[in-house]
Symmetry: C2
Subunit: 557 residues, 2 copies
């Protein structure tokens, strides 16, 4: 897209006419801000547009088709580490739906909300709180300013039993590339079961609009969780690295037994450090990364364990009692197991505020340390540093404390609020293959990836997220220093080799970053062809995010 | 399709060469047998083909494309009341996948099987039993000879926590119209998480292959349920018709609370009668249907209630105890509540055999009546007539006792075995709108449909199936006498008006019968267009079941 071309100028003029001058921006600063992320790749956009309504989205699509201008839509664009508001190629128009932020309905009886893409986790959580709703919205442990719909369409994960966000979507309104607005499910407009029954009549099509570019979702039903009678958070500090295989099998059994209803998160020591302290550069002994011994020493000094598990218990008092017993029986052999129930929450809420207000990580850590003595009165439990915010997330209350781990290797330290790792030049790439939840499978994947981190001079950082009784997402973090002369290139090289090696072993990626989506289906040309044929049929000009999740609509070959 | 045309003869010769002479049949008897069902509409096929492998399916697709011969694929074709092996138009080739009946894998640790479309419920159940598997397969209450994959792709329902059959599919192998074989999920072939993680990478496409015609599924992963420590069936005999609205709200609360984990079935008195006795023609008093008074009298005589609820409890002993308490608290106010636990099962198994062996419905009913005295020793409980087979279905053991309700109005009585209502000229049309699970919504739907049954001279027969905490399928049965001079036309007329009235109110249909699929998306042309554009792109000749679920690929308008 030549920004000085008459065609582009005409397109911009039409966009201004459609959504108003204030909502079309193409200053170099605006363009730069929407072309960056924490990943070591970049694509520069041509213009940024903020429509205010579904009809304005339709108008934008029509203009884009007329001028063959590719538009990349983002709800809020907070998917840091996956590309933020970056397009797959230079020159795209970035369309951000954050002005469309109405909560259209909350149905208390049937436990769902209907919302627009600009609605954030904070907004939904606050809305439910203000109206004294009996419903909880799940949230991820990322920023409260992220879009509920955007995250769900990218299949993001939270922590409660509603933590598989895509699985909670039910009933989408979608603007297609031809400007037509459809409702999924196949019923006439606003049918009674649109937001209560997922499959609809005929093919179930909602999956087609997740991790893809077949349409722009302009509103959606999202299932909410009736507040359980009882809620407890629990934490297990896995004392011995060598217990990991057994822990994996325990988690599978607990998930099948229904004791683990939320998406349990098993975090390793490096990621744990990233959450509570700056990167311990001094402990590296001149190497690019920490040695096993250095990590062990850090664990001892700071009082955390090789792996830390967090999850929640939800249900009636009797159900929680039954499931707590199962969890205790399976997990207590691995290390300290702590349950935090509702009576602890007021103290924790107070401490959360205190910790969130302090800019000083050491102080926050110290306060956390104090909690363990106040609350538990036993031996050091580093996991308690994170308890207040983790407990909040486990009941769907968003906060930006945890996501500050993106600043792990930042020379500038962490902000106390207004977290924005993309703006603040943090270095982070997610890499997230899916692995069956057995000891052998998890071992095989880690044995494949861990040495690649090591040989590229990076610390192996991972959270194993139990998404169903049969699978976990192995969410790996490549933390790197963007200001370093060579780390970004090394991080990119690690990412490349991780992709190559895991794809050749047949792993699916839970989610992918924009500049690398084109490689996803390279090994399966028949599958790529199917996607591109369908894309070409419904978007022949190729205006809706061409290249998102590798889908281009190119059927020429 | 002109059966005498040279082109058709060539196609048949090619099919014979591809799958063997024995597996291509076009005698008038073979064609007739695959052109009929219990519904009052008919389409005549041209030829019936039984491929023996995926590669033979590919060969058939290639031949079909060359000769522009529409092929309608069925796994087993047991979807009685929805069309059996009927195509939407005359002249199609019927392709039945029952010879592809290998169980390719059973993964005990991750609780899934990988099977071909010809695998039946009975086969899978027996296979698990023989190998002393710790896994249960869910089954519907229809014939044990139905296909596990076929039912799941049509989104059939069972009774256990795995009763939403489509939701248990994970990892499909699909033959596309261009002859290419793909695996869903986007990973390279046979990736480790193919059968454990539903969404894959990029758009979730499995929904595209259910209730549709975008490809032929030639194998699939199906999730199985680890046998729970405890299992109990329970039955609630709702004594008062006027309690239905309150019962609906109770069911929703129990489902949200996780006490109802299976797909509870709430059966009305007419359907109950259909299960245990021939249609009481003599009670009609000269009318087409039973009056409210006649139904009340029949209930009193035979000892059943206006509504009967059946579902199961699954989990550890403590979980079952907790959930039983919740169920007791919610439901006992409505009528007799009976729990049947494992210790009752040996006796029940013996009785099941006895009941299944008797051809005499009255004797079967009498034995059932005896059980209630032996087992419970209290007042008459008609629900016990059905207990043995219902308890089996609630733990995934298939049987054909229940599906004999399709013979309700048959003059020839019910068979004791080898049940086949399509062959036996039974009259049954399913009509199954989806309704949100609230008293007002269920009332509104029933108030819409019940009078239409009445005004067309049919008894309102329905099973309200709780498919998730927010929705139920209102599975209605139009039982009619196929041998009657005018009932078939009246039944068809009732179906037509039910479709019209519910579609104009915005209801989705859970599942539809073949000759009426073309009307599904008439009110939503943009949605119809989207489906047809995609269909046309991947199947431009229109060989894969054109018209299934209304998808034709016609984009000419």
């Amino acid at each position: 897209m030549d920004l000085s071309s008459a065609d582009f100028q005409e397109a911009v003029a039409a966009l201004r006419a459609a959504v108003g001058d204030d909502h079309v921006r193409l200053s170099s600063e605006d363009r730069a801000r929407h072309s960056r992320d924490t990943i070591p790749w970049q694509q520069t956009c041509s213009v940024v547009v903020w429509p205010g309504s579904r009809d304005e989205v339709v108008a934008i699509v029509t203009i884009a088709a007329r001028h063959a201008l590719p538009i990349w839509t983002f709800s809020k664009g907070k998917n840091w580490g996956y590309g933020a508001t970056m397009a797959a190629k230079n020159g795209a128009a970035i369309v951000i739906l954050e002005r469309m932020n109405r909560i259209l309905e909350v149905n208390e009886e049937l436990a769902y909300a209907v919302i627009e893409p600009g609605v954030t986790y904070r907004q939904l959580s606050d809305h439910l709180k203000v109206r004294a709703s009996g419903l909880w919205a799940d949230c991820p442990d990322s920023t409260p300013e992220a879009s509920v719909i955007g995250n769900a369409l990218d299949r993001g994960l939270g922590h409660t039993p509603y933590g598989d966000h895509f699985a909670q979507l039910c009933g989408l309104e979608v603007v297609l590339a031809n400007g037509v607005v459809i409702q999924t499910g196949g019923a006439p407009a606003d049918g009674p079961a649109w937001h209560t029954f997922k499959w609809g009549s005929g093919p179930y099509l909602e999956g087609l609009f997740s991790q893809s570019n077949f349409g722009i979702v302009t509103s959606a039903g999202i299932w909410l969780m009736p507040e359980p009678e009882e809620f407890e958070a629990f934490f297990c500090e896995i004392a011995r690295e060598e217990d990991l295989p057994a822990v994996v099998d325990s988690l599978r059994r607990l998930a099948f037994a229904g004791a683990l209803r939320g998406t349990a998160h098993l975090v390793n020591d490096v990621l744990y450090m990233a959450m509570v302290m700056p990167y311990p550069r001094d402990s590296r002994g001149g190497e690019h990364r920490l040695s096993d011994e250095a990590r062990r020493a850090l664990r001892e000094t700071h009082g955390f364990t090789p792996w830390t598990l967090t999850s929640g218990l939800y249900g009636t008092a009797a159900q929680v009692r039954a499931n707590r017993a199962l969890i205790r029986k399976e997990l207590r052999r691995y290390g300290k197991l702590t349950f935090v129930d509702r009576s602890d929450l007021p103290v924790l809420a107070w401490l959360t505020r205190l910790i969130q207000r302090t800019q000083n990580v050491r102080l926050a850590s110290w306060i956390g340390g104090m909690v363990k003595n106040l609350l538990i009165g036993r031996a050091p439990m580093a996991v308690l540093d994170l308890i207040p915010t983790t407990v909040d997330v486990l009941r769907g209350v968003p906060g930006d404390f945890i996501v500050r781990f993106a600043y792990f290797k930042s020379r500038g330290g962490r902000p106390s609020g207004n977290v924005d790792p993309a703006r603040d030049n943090c270095g982070l790439i997610w890499f997230a293959p899916v692995v069956p939840l057995t000891r052998d499978q998890v071992n095989a994947l880690f044995d494949l990836c861990r040495p690649l981190f090591g040989s590229h001079g990076f610390d192996f950082s991972v959270s194993l997220i139990v998404v169903n009784p049969r699978s976990a997402v192995a969410l790996m973090q490549i933390f790197y220093d963007k200001s370093d002369a060579e780390e970004p290139a090394r991080a990119a090289a690690l990412y490349e080799v991780l992709c190559q090696r895991t794809l050749s072993e047949g792993y699916q990626q839970y989610r992918a970053n924009v500049p690398n989506m084109h490689r996803l289906f390279q090994a399966v040309p028949g599958y790529q062809r199917l996607l591109d044929e369908m894309k070409n049929a419904v978007d022949p000009v190729g205006i809706l995010a061409p290249g998102r999740y590798g889908i281009t609509g190119d059927v020429s070959s």
